[in-house]
């Protein structure tokens, strides 16, 4: 049955994924929080294809791949353009003006999935999907440079069933730059002070007690949890080559099917694993 996501048990269920190819403009024009090494576009593409391949082939999701748009250097990070929960999709208004148009393509694809579309039209509102953590029970919205209070309010209005709590995010780009869901009741969290502080905030705000999985590296705390009928708990996490210590932590999750994925290139432009897809669970059509 539908209804409130079918409860925590259904958390991580996913039938569709929306991804987008990366434009070449990403290398030079993609926003980045700090200057750093150049992006090896070829390698970035390979990593991304691997990523998509896992979703498509290994996990059997229906992957909807949007073409790249050179005018939108950050368009590969589809997560920021939409928040989808159950049958409802909120098209965001990204905090970075250069990214606002990314939403258009997203809108089309989501419409094709017959979701209830809600658009964020308020010009005072900004929201990046990367600041939205859905735990299966509630939302946490990071108030960051990209996401403001108004954006969070609209999210709350859109997903009325759920509590929406705000979490200040100061030192990183997004809330999910240092955390994510690693299981139905499990929050993966980085070890940095900022991450731990945010976790505390979330724990205080929630009526529910979450387990936490603390990993040494903030970036590694961003992982993708899926509940795939044939495979059970699936976790896409950063490769041991990148974050060996964190990988060890993930490897302690005995019940999870672990899929390490490298993300070395996109990380240079603040990309994380969750950034590159919008996961959708289309329950059997009613």
């Amino acid at each position: 049955m539908a209804g409130l996501g079918g409860g925590p048990a259904a958390f991580g269920r996913c039938t569709h994924a929306v991804v987008r190819a990366l434009p070449e403009s990403l290398c030079r024009q993609a926003l980045r929080s700090a200057p750093g090494p150049d992006v090896d576009f070829a390698r970035a593409e390979r990593e991304h294809q691997l990523y998509v391949g896992v979703l498509k082939s290994k996990l059997g999701l229906q992957v909807l791949e949007l073409p790249a748009d050179e005018s939108l250097p950050d368009c590969v990070f589809v997560e920021d353009a939409a928040v989808v929960c159950e049958e409802t999709a909120l098209l965001t208004r990204p905090g970075a003006p250069s990214r606002r148009k990314e939403v258009e393509a997203m809108k089309k694809v989501l419409e094709s999935l017959n979701l209830n579309i809600v658009e964020m039209v308020d010009e005072n509102a900004t929201l990046d999907g990367g600041d939205v953590l859905f735990t299966g029970r509630e939302f946490f919205v990071g108030l960051s440079k990209r996401t403001n209070q108004r954006g969070a309010e609209i999210l709350a209005d859109t997903f009325k069933d759920y509590a929406v709590s705000t979490v200040p995010v100061h030192d990183s780009l997004h809330l999910k730059s240092f955390c994510s869901m690693a299981g139905p009741n499990l929050i993966a969290i980085g070890s940095s002070e900022a991450a731990q502080k945010a976790l505390k905030t979330m724990q205080q705000m929630s009526d529910h007690r979450y387990d936490k999985l603390t990993v040494p590296d903030d970036a590694a705390a961003n992982c993708i949890y899926l509940n795939v009928p044939s495979k059970g708990h699936v976790l896409l996490h950063r490769a041991p080559e990148e974050y060996p210590e964190s990988a060890k932590v993930f490897e302690k999750l005995k019940d999870h099917m672990l899929i390490p994925i490298a993300n070395t290139e996109l990380e240079k432009v603040d990309g994380a694993l969750t950034c590159c897809s919008v996961l959708i669970n289309k329950s059997s059509e009613l």
Binding site: M1, E86, N116, A156, D157, D161, Y162, A163, V164, M205
Partner: protein, 1060 residues
């Protein structure tokens, strides 16, 4: 009219006769009756009609008549009453003979008409007349009842109320005459007796249950139907609740409760342990049956019927929008509703729009309905109970499930919502949750005035707990929130309810506690339920519910409220009154005024209303709601903690309270109060702190324009004071007023007794303090009392004094400004107004101003009782010179009125007059030995991190002038305190607290009278003048007096709010 009336009366009398005959002994009474009748006859020349006319007759006239009768009836001597009553009864039998009937009719009628005339007459005649009048009144009532009875019971009820009120008034009058409190008390007792006697007479003769003072209650049930029953007026909430549950066949009832609305969004839970009447005051006896505690896991409920009612509640919540849902959830829940109510989808039966009769959402769309149908088809085979369970399983996951929202502002004045739920307190800003305080994290919950505070456990790395304040729209809202928190915490967090604190010496906090079963207990109990699943019909949640739901449940109530202007303000009328013609007029008046009060405009009317309102509101609640400290899991602090508390100024600073306006006083007082003495009594750190702080604040009067908030608070104080006064007639009257029923008065007295006890406690405090610092101690007490008065919620002055002090401390300003406006009026007008107010307070329908009788009442009296202050709280613990005190108070009141007219501005003139050693009159400020000029200029803004901050943003300016001279006759010497008495009287802008302490020092008894006069008002009052006048008057009274202290306190509230 006349002819008709006569006929009616006869009929009525006949009916009465039957009852009367049975009731009492005729022979004894006969002689008396004859006499009475004679006198009556003499008096009863005038038209009989008015009395006889049942409903339509002008309520005022009847009321007046009753009043008169009552006043007389209240007459000091019981025997006359009894006689009269008996005579009355006798008369009825005589009526049978018809000869006498005529007489009686005449008498009755005459009594009614005459009443106004008689009032002026000497007491004796008055007494007789009064008795007669009472009889007549009773007779009238009975007649009315009978006439109306077939149609409506309510009028009778009203009559009863009126009568009582009148009695109260009479009592007051008597008091004036005698001026002796003791006598007054006696009178009170007498009145009680009389009343009971009346009741008997009434009940017996009529025999029908209706005649007993019952009130018709209506309860809106969850299925949209209405349950009505007759309740004894004195009935407690539990009685009604039990009835409803029985009607519903509901066993797991602890999750539910009855609600009454003060306005559309002011939802109050009926406290089962308290009398209904006191809680709803003038509101109509209209309730809604609601879920009070939403079980987090409905599947653990034992019975389907319980789940069913929970479903009904949730459907209302959802349809009204109180429980927000997404589209999908609306559809899903709707589909379960349809399944439960209609069963399986049947294409034949369920045609196109079968679904549109239901309301699933506030904004129901075609699309949603289609979705519901779609889902409905998938539920095939689910039984109604199963569908309900599914409904609940989904509904319970909604984030706002079981969250009771309250509007508030944070420290920065930002609108937020406070949500009370099973797990704790949630803070919302718009739709976003911005904070959450689980019960385990909360150490203490309190409210002061319109502020609500939670004290939170220190975070991991923090040393001190922090107190977070929120600003509620008004005091009542704060109290409501506090109560809800107390209840939820108890129900969900505790295994068994906490025993309500007894008014002991050091007790902090309101007596209010959740008295029902906790969730744990109710689960246990429901495990024992052993009955076949009760059969119940699932009524459809169709249009019916829609109409109800469309607007929150309150709506129906609202309409009622609208009809009765009073209802809004709360205080003035009873529901019953509505029906009654007499009551309405007054009620309306009251309502208007009340409505006006919130506006806070300077106009006279409004002000008066405000007073009235406050008084009314306060009365009922004062008794049990005191100060509001709920100590949660950390109830017992060790003294060490206390000491720490004191020691750590930083902590104090953190503390919201302190951050607020008057940091200095606390520091100040700390010095004075010897730690040892205080410590011993003080169990809680807060307590100590509180003691210290209060005195200064109270002293202050606000010269600066007051913000809206301040005024209401002041009013509250007044109320509190009134209610508090144990001995004072005024207070009694108020109390009685609350309780329309005769019986009620008795209760009041009982309460009074309690209060007295409390008072004693205060005195004790005084002693202790005295030992240390004589002068200050007195002040403290005074302050505390004032504070108590200021706090509407705080019922008993004494016990709550400390807590009250806290409140005061936080806010510094004493708010009593509203009254100022009135000065301009002539005294007569004032009196009339006062009377009106008084009446209103009493909830009587009687129209005060017009009536001559009231006018006749000596001015002083009016001032004391009816008028503004009403606040005379004589805490006469140990008998002393009560008379004097009372007199003084009266005088003060009168003087104060005059004073008000004078204007003082800016700084207060400092007058030092030192005279009699033992008698010290302080204008305004309490006596202080030290030479201190305290000028604290604090624009206090608490900037506590984001959400958590004290809400009170006020700019305060406090200037204290103290005379160095004061010796504190009592001070230092640590004599033995024989008695302490505190009297508070309030006038429009002035509150006078007289504290009389009798001490024995070295064999010499010393009586010390301290007066604190607090002048409160907006900028438009000339405070200088007022102060000068006050001092002048005080000096006239007590030539020996010395002014020890003048405190000027200006407060400007940065964040203005609207009051009620």
């Amino acid at each position: 009219m006349t002819t008709e009336v006569g006929a009616e009366t006869e009929v009525k009398k006949d009916a009465e006769q039957a009852g009367a005959g049975q009731a009492k002994d005729k022979p004894d009474e006969a002689s008396r009756t004859t006499e009475d009748e004679k006198s009556r006859k003499a008096s009863s020349e005038e038209p009989l009609d008015s009395s006889s006319v049942p409903v339509p007759t002008s309520p005022s006239s009847q009321k007046k008549a009753k009043d008169l009768s009552e006043s007389k009836g209240i007459s000091r001597f019981l025997p006359p009453w009894l006689k009269k009553q008996k005579s009355y009864t006798l008369a009825e039998p005589k009526e049978e003979a018809k000869k006498k009937t005529v007489r009686e009719d005449q008498v009755i009628e005459a009594g009614d008409c005459q009443l106004p005339e008689e009032a002026p007459q000497p007491e004796r005649s008055l007494k007789g007349a009064a008795t007669e009048k009472e009889h007549s009144a009773k007779a009238e009532e009975k007649e009315e009842k009978r006439s109306v009875s077939s149609a409506e019971t309510q009028p009778a009820k009203e009559d009863g109320k009126e009568i009582e009120v009148e009695k109260v008034a009479e009592e007051k009058e008597e008091k004036q005459v005698e001026k002796e409190e003791k006598q007054v008390e006696k009178e009170k007792r007498e009145t009680k007796e009389v009343q009971t006697g009346e009741i008997k007479a009434e009940s017996i003769p009529q025999k029908s249950p209706k005649k007993i003072k019952t009130v018709q209650c209506k309860v809106m049930l969850l299925d949209g139907t209405e349950y009505s029953c007759d309740l004894e007026k004195r009935a407690k909430g539990q009685v009604l609740f039990e009835k409803v549950c029985e009607h519903l066949n509901l066993l797991e009832k602890d999750y539910f409760g009855l609600v009454f609305y003060e306005s559309s969004d002011q939802k109050n839970w009926l406290d089962p342990s308290k009398e209904i009447k006191r809680q709803i005051r003038s509101l109509p006896w209209l309730f809604t049956f609601n879920v009070k505690f939403y079980p987090p896991d409905p599947s653990q409920l034992t019975e389907d019927i319980t789940r069913y009612f929970l479903c009904l509640q949730l459907r209302q919540d959802i349809a009204s929008g109180r429980l927000p849902c997404s589209f999908v959830t609306h559809a899903l829940l709707g589909s379960y509703t349809v399944q439960a109510e209609l069963g399986d989808y049947d294409p034949e039966e369920h045609r196109s729009d079968y679904i549109s009769e239901f309301q699933f959402a506030p904004n129901q769309t075609q699309e949603m309905e289609e979705k519901v149908v779609e889902l409905h088809k998938t539920h095939r085979g689910l039984s109604p109970a199963q569908a309900d369970s599914q409904f609940l399983e989904n509904a319970k996951r909604l984030s706002m499930y079981g969250v009771d929202l309250h509007h508030a502002k944070d420290s920065e004045g930002v609108d937020i919502m406070l949500g009370v739920c099973a797990n704790g307190l949630l803070i919302y800003k718009d739709r976003l949750r911005i904070n959450r305080f689980a019960w385990p994290k909360i150490l203490k919950i309190s409210y002061k005035r319109s502020n609500f505070y939670i004290k939170v456990r220190p975070a991991e790395l923090e040393q001190f707990e922090s107190t977070i304040g929120f600003k509620l729209p008004n005091h009542r809202a704060a109290k409501r929130l506090w109560k809800v928190c107390v209840e939820h915490h108890t129900f969900f967090r505790l295994l068994s309810p906490e025993q309500p604190p007894k008014a002991k010496f050091l007790t902090l906090g309101s007596k209010f506690r959740y008295s029902g079963r906790t969730q744990a207990q109710t689960r246990q109990a429901s495990n024992l339920i052993d009955r076949p699943a009760p059969h119940f019909e699932r009524t459809s949640s169709k249009r019916v519910s829609r109409s109800l739901d469309g607007a929150p449940i309150g709506i129906s109530d609202q309409s009622l409220l609208r009809d009765f202007p009073t209802a809004r303000g709360g205080p003035a009328g009873d529901k019953v009154l509505d029906i009654e013609g007499a009551g309405q007029a007054k009620l309306k008046e009251g309502s208007r005024e009340e409505n006006g009060s919130p506006v806070k405009t300077p106009q006279l009317e409004l002000i008066q209303d405000g007073k009235k309102l406050h008084s009314l509101k306060v009365d009922g609640e004062n008794i049990y709601v005191r100060h509001s400290n709920l100590m949660l899991e950390d109830l017992d602090k060790t003294q060490d903690d206390l000491l720490k508390h004191q020691a750590s100024i930083s902590e104090l600073k953190r503390n919201f309270m302190e951050s607020t306006p008057e940091p200095r006083p606390s520091a100040w007082e700390k010095r004075r109060i010897p730690p040892a003495a205080l410590q011993a009594p003080a169990k809680k750190g807060d307590y100590l702190f509180q003691l210290k702080t209060p005195p200064l604040r109270e002293k202050q009067w606000t010269a600066a324009p007051r913000t809206a908030e301040a005024k209401p608070e002041e009013a509250d104080k007044r109320h509190g004071s009134r209610a508090e006064g144990p001995c004072a007639g005024g207070s009694d009257a108020d109390k009685s007023s609350h309780e329309t029923l005769d019986i009620v008065e008795e209760k009041k007295q009982a309460e009074v007794g309690r209060e007295e006890g409390v008072v004693i406690d205060e005195t004790n405090k005084g002693k202790m303090q005295v030992a240390t610092d004589a002068g200050e101690t007195c002040k403290v007490e005074l302050l505390s009392k004032k504070d108590s008065s200021s706090l509407p919620s705080d019922s008993s002055s004494s016990s709550s004094s400390e807590s009250e002090d806290e409140e005061v401390g936080e806010y510094q300003p004493h708010h009593r400004a509203i009254e100022e406006v009135i000065r301009e009026e002539q005294e007569e007008e004032e009196d009339a107004n006062r009377k009106k107010e008084h009446q209103e307070k009493i909830k009587q329908p009687v129209e005060a101003p017009t009536e001559g009788s009231k006018l006749n009442v000596p001015v002083e009296h009016a001032a004391q009782v009816a008028a503004e202050a009403l606040a005379q709280e004589n805490a006469v613990t140990v008998a002393t010179e009560e008379k004097k005190v009372s007199e003084e108070v009266k005088q003060d009141v009168g003087e104060e009125k005059e004073e008000e007219q004078l204007r003082l501005n800016g700084d207060v003139s400092h007058v030092d007059i030192d005279v009699a050693p033992q008698i010290i009159c302080c204008s305004e400020p309490p006596v202080v030995k030290t030479e201190m000029v305290t000028i604290s200029d604090a624009s206090q803004r608490t900037e506590i991190s984001t959400k958590e901050v004290p809400i009170v943003q006020t700019e305060t300016k406090t200037i204290t002038y103290e005379s160095p001279q004061f010796d504190g006759s009592t001070g230092g010497n640590a004599g033995v305190l024989l008695s302490a008495q505190t009297i508070t009287s309030e006038s429009i802008s002035t509150t006078t607290t007289t504290h009389i302490t009798k001490m024995v020092k070295g064999g010499v008894s010393e009586t010390r009278i301290e007066k604190r006069i607090v002048i409160t008002g907006d900028a438009d009052i000339d405070h200088d003048e007022a102060l000068a006048q006050a001092i002048k008057e005080a000096k006239e009274q007590h030539p020996d007096m010395s002014v020890t202290r003048v405190v000027v306190h200006k407060e400007t509230e940065l964040a203005e709010e609207d009051e009620e």
